[in-house]
């Protein structure tokens, strides 16, 4: 770490994992890291959260896979990737070698796949945390997304927890597309999640006015970017309010330091930046700088003081 934070304690932690800065990449928005290394030093940000990897290599969804929407975008990548073996043998060593902290995101189609992935990850040294993306369709249960129901969400996390004894923190990543996100959050925490990642994309669709059919090859896609920021802030605020002791990795539409601060005040201990990097490859270091000065300007001495500040009553606060 070469950054001087002027005496300000910018470090954060998600359960037992510590990071020098709270600004991370978002899963699926930095590929395996190499591509962004052209634009900034990966060791100077909090961590690289890698694209959700599955057990086997995967082609993903047909193109078109993207549509721009007002202040947002839809994607339907469908978890394309090289599979966990290739990933652990190639991408992780490269990142660790660059001095980057690595959070590995995993995704499964079955409860069992999550356990298999966890077992393979446990065998590798140097990984800071596992992010368990349970916002993917469960092939065992009518294609329902794991994170849409308390029981499937809990079982997926439980499968990972049983393998990962406590060496590496487990971060459960939830979808906002549920009736009551706090109940899903508490079910995964009960099942052994050490932290929560909020939020994955919001399900959306765009109709192409030329073909007059759904624009995306996969028909529906995930909405990300500033459009969904108010949804992310709400989800983080609700969950932090219900479980203030559980650390949250917040994400959803963060494109500037002020956006990051909003999510932190709502209760996030760390921030993943996704879509913003598509529009600005140097968004992550910029957001990190901007957040740092906004925190200083508000008289905070450390990032930790700001986490969840919006929950204090006005009297308490000042």
């Amino acid at each position: 770490m070469k950054i001087d934070y002027e005496g300000f304690d910018f470090s954060t932690s998600l359960a037992d994992a510590s990071f020098p800065s709270p600004i991370f990449t978002a899963s699926g928005c930095a590929s395996s890291g190499k591509e962004l290394a052209q634009f900034f030093d990966l060791s100077e940000i909090g961590a690289v959260v890698t694209k959700s990897v599955m057990n086997k290599p995967r082609h993903g969804r047909p193109t078109p896979r993207m549509a721009e929407t007002p202040s947002g975008m839809l994607n339907s990548i469908g978890l394309q990737g090289p599979g966990i073996d290739y990933f652990l043998a190639n991408d992780v060593p490269w990142l660790l070698n660059k001095g980057s902290r690595v959070i590995v995101s995993i995704a499964g189609e079955t409860i069992d796949e999550y356990s298999v992935l966890a077992r393979k990850i446990r065998a590798v040294q140097g990984i800071s945390a596992i992010e368990v993306n349970i916002s993917c369709p469960n092939v065992e249960n009518r294609g329902m997304v794991f994170a849409c129901q308390t029981d499937t969400a809990a079982r997926a996390i439980d499968g990972v927890r049983k393998i990962i004894g406590g060496e590496i923190p487990i971060i459960a990543k939830l979808t906002p597309d549920v009736t009551d996100i706090t109940s899903i959050a508490s079910s995964v925490v009960d099942a052994g999640a050490d932290a929560l990642a909020l939020i994955n994309t919001v399900l959306g669709m765009v109709i192409n006015l030329d073909t007059m059919r759904p624009h995306l090859g996969g028909k529906t896609g995930g909405l990300s970017g500033p459009a969904i920021r108010p949804v992310a802030v709400r989800a983080i605020y609700q969950v932090h309010s219900a479980m203030p002791q559980v650390p949250i990795l917040g994400m959803g539409g963060v494109a500037s330091g002020r956006d990051a601060l909003e999510l932190i005040l709502a209760g996030a201990s760390g921030i993943s930046v996704g879509t913003a990097s598509f529009g600005d490859p140097s968004a992550i270091p910029r957001i990190q700088r901007e957040l740092h000065s906004l925190l200083l300007a508000r008289g905070f001495k450390s990032l930790r003081e700001a986490v969840g500040y919006a929950h204090r009553s006005i009297e308490e606060g000042s």
Binding site: E35, L36, A37, P57, H59, T63, M66
Partner: protein, 283 residues
């Protein structure tokens, strides 16, 4: 430093000129030292809209030509079709305004080491990068023939200076308003038969690239095409721009056209699978 896009840099670039040419805008950007790193086939990703814009993604444009100025440094020419809100925004920017660009991006056209006979085929604004390519090929001693096509004459981009870099230039329009009536792919078959072409370089709509690919299949003619898939990032981090590409062992991979393209060897592209889900990966 990364090995991917290793020359790519994000800079603020000044618009030196912005002129309407037919249906397009010819835009000249001051890019200083970056000029020496740009090769025909590379593209640039441009941030569109001001800080209050609802457009959050960059737009990709082929680098049409590079000029190496003296005092003011190098410049990059783009040929932009006002298509939707982002490209219209770019076309509306006045001379002197600054825009945020990332360049050079993507794989360039492969240049033969010995002189060959090259046919360059451009559809619509797809002709833009071909003139810079023609100059490079000519400098290597290649013979360069050019075919340009579009729906109508205003969509043919063929600058006077550019024409000089090709030995022959033929124009096709679907409505017959310029050159011959018909598709640019019409004469290619005969040219291949005649055996005077070694390599085809193409840039234009996917349907045109695919049609040329069908014609070169089974022949000795190498076909390098610059593909155009919807791109969210342009730098390899989003996986939206993929194309099904056959490996040596016949397996299909979904490669990112922004970093493994836009220029691809057309014989490796699984054209029938574009826009479809390839068969499940088997190991």
């Amino acid at each position: 430093m990364s090995t991917i896009n290793k020359s790519a840099t994000q800079i603020s670039s000044t618009i030196l000129s912005n002129k309407r040419i037919g249906a397009y805008h010819q835009i000249l950007l001051s890019i200083g030292d970056l000029a020496s790193l740009c090769r025909p086939g590379n593209f640039v990703a441009i941030a569109v809209g001001d800080e209050s814009s609802k457009m959050i993604l960059r737009r990709a444009f082929a680098i049409s030509r590079i000029t190496h100025g003296s005092a003011s440094g190098g410049a990059m020419e783009l040929i932009v079709a006002p298509h939707g809100s982002g490209s219209r925004w770019i076309c509306a920017q006045p001379e002197g305004s600054d825009i945020d660009i990332v360049a050079p991006l993507g794989k360039a056209f492969g240049i033969p080491t010995s002189p060959v006979n090259a046919l360059l085929v451009g559809g619509g604004y797809g002709s833009a990068p071909l003139f810079g390519l023609a100059e490079v090929l000519k400098a290597r001693g290649c013979r360069v023939d050019m075919l340009l096509g579009a729906s109508t004459g205003s969509k043919i981009y063929a600058p006077l200076e550019g024409k000089r870099s090709a030995s022959t230039l033929k124009i096709y329009t679907e409505d017959g308003s310029m050159g011959e009536r018909g598709r640019v792919t019409a004469p290619i078959s005969a040219l291949i038969q005649r055996g005077t072409i070694d390599v085809i370089y193409s840039c234009g709509p996917m349907s045109m690239l695919r049609a040329i690919s069908d014609l070169t299949e089974g022949t000795d003619v190498v076909h390098q095409c610059a593909v155009e898939e919807s791109m969210a990032c342009g730098i390899g981090i989003c996986m939206t721009c993929v194309l099904p590409v056959k490996g040596e062992d016949g397996t299909i991979s979904m490669l990112r056209s922004c970093i493994d393209g836009p220029v691809m060897d057309s014989s490796t592209v699984a054209w029938d699978l574009v826009g479809k889900t390839p068969p499940a990966v088997t190991l």
